[in-house]
């Protein structure tokens, strides 16, 4: 398009790692900021804000896992357990010491990061499927430990009621208020993730992903950076767990079973590994797809099947089939994920109407 450059003209490191590669990016970001900070809370109904809230929390979690899996190439199937650590840390701090969210939110993240470093230690020696199994073990060990320690879990129910966050005396308990709370966290999470990816740390992560022995020869302290990746990734997971806790008003270990870890892994893979935008796409896709399918089928279903009783059964199963089918479809069409699909579309229009 006319406001785009037609080739690759970067001549310095500074321009290569710039946050805004082009002036138009600045305008796009400003446009999205207005859309999400002003237009959405004013015009979108409370129900659709709920969906945006769920997407927002998933984005934070997926960004974190993307740093570990996508950037550093270390697989983890224990992401949900780190969310659980964050959730219970925040819940205990908020109920026992009456601490506000701006302390509990980072504390939940830090505690998860600390546990993440411990769980990450095997990554120094093993990789690939072996690491996957050791993080899987972490998922179960952390879960078991929380449930069986009443001092953490708050009793037999393993759930702690948490008051909704408040700022300047305003309790954030409507979907709209919670939306702004989650949105601010999401924006910080995105900015930090973008900056990690383009900084020295991010380049070290990528070097380890591509070939860890070569990275070590280049002078990168592989052990340190692998553990750092686990810590950052777990920090994000912890923050996502705290967001869940504040959003639902309760910390509960059953919010974070193994399936959730798999869901996050799916988000990162579907979105496109190693890119921030991909993680956002993936989280949005995996969260929205079942809801969209369900809404469409609920609206069209009565015209196809008269019996409402049978419909609700068929609808649920169709949703699973379509969800799985669409994921397969997108991965076959573009194995590098939704982000690559988006880049393809973008580069097509960049040189349009020419083919190169």
């Amino acid at each position: 398009m006319f406001h785009r450059e037609s080739g690759y003209y970067k001549t310095s490191y500074a321009s290569d790692s710039a946050l805004y590669p082009l002036p138009v990016a600045k305008w796009a970001v400003a446009g999205f900021a207005v859309l999400f900070f002003v237009v959405a809370p004013l015009l979108v109904s409370s129900y659709y804000l709920t969906i945006l809230n769920l997407v927002g929390i998933a984005v934070v979690g997926a960004l974190g896992l993307n740093i570990l899996v996508g950037l550093t190439g270390q697989i983890s199937i224990g992401h949900a357990a780190f969310m659980s650590v964050g959730a219970y840390t925040a819940a205990n701090l908020a109920t026992r010491f009456d601490l506000p969210f701006w302390i509990t939110l980072p504390s939940g993240g830090l505690m998860a990061a600390a546990i993440g470093i411990v769980v990450g230690f095997p990554s120094v020696r093993i990789k690939g499927l072996y690491l996957a199994i050791s993080t899987l073990a972490a998922q179960f060990i952390i879960d078991w430990f929380i449930v069986h320690t009443p001092a953490i879990s708050g009793g037999f129910q393993a759930s702690i009621q948490v008051p909704r966050p408040s700022i300047f005396g305003v309790v954030l308990d409507t979907q709209r208020e919670l939306y702004l709370f989650i949105l601010v966290t999401v924006v910080i999470a995105i900015v930090v993730a973008l900056n990690i990816a383009r900084s020295r740390v991010g380049r070290a992560f990528i070097a380890i992903r591509d070939q860890d022995i070569a990275a070590e020869i280049l002078g990168i302290n592989v052990r340190r950076y692998k553990l750092m990746a686990f810590a950052i990734s777990s920090f994000y997971a912890g923050v996502a767990g705290v967001l869940y806790t504040y959003y639902s008003g309760v910390a509960n270990n059953e919010f974070f079973p193994l399936v959730v870890s798999i869901d996050y892994l799916a988000m990162v893979i579907i979105g496109g590994m190693g890119s921030v935008l991909g993680a956002i796409f993936g989280a949005t896709f995996v969260t929205l797809l079942p809801i969209t399918i369900d809404l469409i089928m609920s609206s069209l279903g009565p015209y196809l099947i008269a019996d409402a009783g049978s419909l609700s059964g068929i609808k649920s199963h169709m949703r699973l089939i379509l969800f799985g089918g669409l994921i397969m479809f997108f991965l076959v069409v573009e194995p590098e994920g939704l982000n690559r699909l988006w880049l393809n579309i973008r580069s097509y229009f960049r040189v349009w109407p020419f083919s190169y």
Binding site: F32, S45, S46, Y47, Y48, T50, I51, L54, I57, A58, T95, V147, S153, F156, Q157, A158, S159, Q161, P163, R164, D173, Q175, Y244, Y247, S248, G249, V250, N252, N253, E254, F255, V259, V260, T284, T287, L288, P290, I291, T292, D294, L295, I296, S298, S299, L300, P302, D307, A308, G309, S312, G313, K315, S316, H317, R319, L320
Partner: protein
């Protein structure tokens, strides 16, 4: 992003097409048609659906039809949060919840939105305290009441508890562990020894625990609290270890037709008994009415009707909802636009409503949202389940005192 927004817009348009009509009461029911609890959710959801259809075919509630919106959560929290908000945007005045984590996640919202939610057989025990949780209605025995009732049943069976040995065989998750505080307290009170046998998820291997119970510990009675595939595994494991099934009583999620079938049929599970909060079997007028309704519509009755334990619980849930709505419409002067608070007050008027014996004589008036914690023991016989007791409640005073203590912790 653009794509997502347009898809939201498209979906929004579609959703608007099905918005509420006048003279209609909207209620929501969450039942897991898919996911780990689908085996319960399907027959239970069918029971709810069919009873509401039956009521609508007989003229509805005070002349208003009920529109039931079913939500499938797959036992996951985010879809439940989304589903609840969808129900709210459609104008639902009452939500039937499904699953303990989902109940936990929605408790604060229900209270804020003044929308009553029902949680029969799961959820927080403390929610029985209507003063602390005004918009939650367990409306059936919680795990604590089940623990009290199973000790009471053991006492009847053994003719006293002093010096006896009771084994608690439970699924090692928060729901499974929830019976523990009541059992521990009662063991101190009544002077029996309690041994705890946790079964780790997924609960398909229980021979060690069964041998321990039968041979080493030599339990006089077993109280079990298992889910999913585990109850049937337990029946077989205890039989292999030589423990008589007559001395076992299960909590409400461990004794259905499916569990007995999976254990090898009625012969294999003979004598195994379980607590129930709704009547079991086919011999109820309401089930005959539902069959007649299907026949009048020229359809076959659903196959899920043969799963009487869960199907009848669906009927119980729907019947309580309809009864509460009936009272709410009365409170509202016969109009359909009832509010959540009126429905709550409708629930609080439910008393001596038994639906031909399918429901216990529960009483939701007077601050006890559990209605008394009634259960009935049904035993496996050669051709199905037979009642072994009448409706009863065990150690209600002890349990309710603990409920009060627990609900006082709520902030």
């Amino acid at each position: 992003m653009k794509k997502i927004l347009t898809s939201i817009a498209v979906v929004g348009g579609l959703a608007a097409m099905t918005a509420a009509h006048a003279g209609e009461i909207v209620i929501g029911q969450m039942t897991d048609r898919t996911g780990p609890l689908a085996n319960v959710g399907n027959p239970l959801g069918d029971g709810v659906r069919d009873y509401i259809d039956l009521v609508n075919s007989q003229g509805g509630v005070g002349g208003h039809t009920i529109r039931l919106i079913g939500i499938d959560n797959q036992y996951k929290v985010p879809p439940a949060v989304e589903g609840y908000q969808r129900l709210k945007s459609e104008g639902a005045v009452l939500v039937g919840l499904f699953g303990t984590p989902i109940t936990q996640a929605l408790t604060a919202d229900l209270e804020k939105d003044k929308t009553p939610g029902t949680t029969p057989g799961f959820g927080t025990a403390a929610a029985a305290d209507g003063a602390a949780f005004p918009y939650l209605f367990p409306a059936a025995a919680s795990y604590w009441s089940q623990a009290g009732a199973s000790v009471e049943y053991a006492k009847q069976q053994m003719g006293g508890l002093k010096g006896k040995k009771i084994a608690y065989l439970f699924y090692d998750n928060p729901a499974g562990r929830e019976g523990l505080p009541v059992l521990r307290k009662l063991s101190e009170m009544e002077g029996f020894t309690l041994n705890e046998f946790p079964v780790p998820a997924p609960g398909i291997e229980m021979d060690n625990q069964a041998r321990d119970i039968a041979r080493r510990y030599r339990a006089d009675f077993v109280i079990s609290h298992l889910f999913g595939r585990a109850p049937s595994v337990q029946i077989n494991a205890l039989t292999r270890a030589g423990f008589p099934l007559e001395k076992v009583v299960s909590f409400v999620w461990g004794a259905s037709e499916a569990d007995v079938d999976a254990a090898g049929g009625n012969e294999a599970a003979l004598g195994y008994s379980g607590l129930q909060f709704a009547g079991v079997g086919d011999d109820f007028q309401v089930r005959r009415d539902i069959r007649a309704m299907f026949k009048a519509q020229g359809r076959e009755p659903r196959t899920s009707m043969s799963s009487t334990v869960f199907y009848n619980r669906g009927i119980l849930i729907a019947a309580l909802h309809v009864e509460a709505l009936t009272h709410a419409v009365e409170i509202n002067g016969g109009e359909a636009d009832v509010t959540g608070t009126q429905v709550r007050d409708g629930f609080r008027k439910i008393k001596d409503f038994s639906l031909g014996g399918l429901l216990p004589p529960l009483n939701l008036a007077g601050g006890d949202h559990e209605g008394g914690g009634w259960v009935r023991v049904f035993k496996v016989t050669k051709d199905g389940f037979a009642p072994a007791t009448d409706w009863f409640k065990g150690y209600r005073d002890v349990v309710f005192e603990m409920i009060k203590e627990e609900s006082a912790k709520k902030n």
